[in-house]
């Protein structure tokens, strides 16, 4: 019983650090990547997994108590809604005439927006 708690505590801290590291890398991605579309890659993928990791760590720390269940629900909703937000931001940016950065190699998106 005690051993399980120690193992869970260890994994909880490990996932918390991993999640925070991913959040940090997401922020670094926003600063370093060249244009809005590439920055969306950083925020949707890395940011989502980082936040999900923090929520999972809360679940591991407190178990299936009301707080833990709420945390994991928030995490699942993040996974579900982040792609939709990225999709809308990218679409709006392209329709407002935000060009792809100079190193882009191909753009097959129909500019007429029927």
């Amino acid at each position: 019983m005690i051993t399980t708690e120690i193992v869970l505590e260890f994994f909880s801290n490990f996932i918390l650090i991993l999640g925070l590291m991913f959040v940090f890398l997401g922020m670094l991605g926003i600063l370093r990547l060249p244009d809005v579309y590439n920055r969306l890659h950083a925020t949707t993928k890395i940011g989502t997994l980082g936040a999900f990791g923090v929520m999972l760590s809360i679940l591991m720390k407190v178990g299936f108590t009301p707080i833990g269940v709420k945390a994991i629900t928030v995490g699942l909703f993040l996974l579900l809604t982040a792609p939709v937000a990225a999709h809308m931001i990218g679409r709006a940016a392209h329709r407002h005439g935000v060009d792809l950065c100079d190193i882009s190699v191909i753009d097959e998106y129909d500019k007429t927006y029927k």
């Binding site: 009301p66 709420k70 982040a82 792609p83 990225a86 792809l100 097959e108 998106y109």
Partner: protein, 164 residues
Amino acid sequence: MKRYLFYSIPLALMWCFVHGSVTIENFIFGMILGPIALRPFMPLFKVGGELSFKDAIVRIPKQAKYFAILIIEILKANIMVARIVISPNIDIKPGIIAVPIDTKTNGGITAIANTITLTPGTLTIDISDDRSVLYVHCIDASDPDGVRTSIKNDLEKYVLEAFE
């Protein structure tokens, strides 16, 4: 009526999770709230065809397989983007690629668009008017045909099995 009942079950479960404890009282209260929450959005759910509880249960193993693959792909995507972000020189060839899809239903298209966004190096930007082409932003678009075949063979197969 059956449709309302069908969609209320997941909403009631969700209510239990948001409340924090799965009890029969919470579930019943969620079932009462479900139809009220569904009412304004019901016109969007003109899926066509008859819904059946049996059909939904048959799909559960396939959906479980799909989610397992999705989790692996998400982890791969994160490691890939993280490596690009921390590399000293950012060496990428981004671009937008048109990817034709076979999926027809609204649920299937939503699933594949979200899956593409969460998988390595790709991000769905828009869908064409006739719902046959997805515009996908790729962080490495030097090989457009390779991206098209990898989406078709690796992802769409599982999405079609799980959601159509």
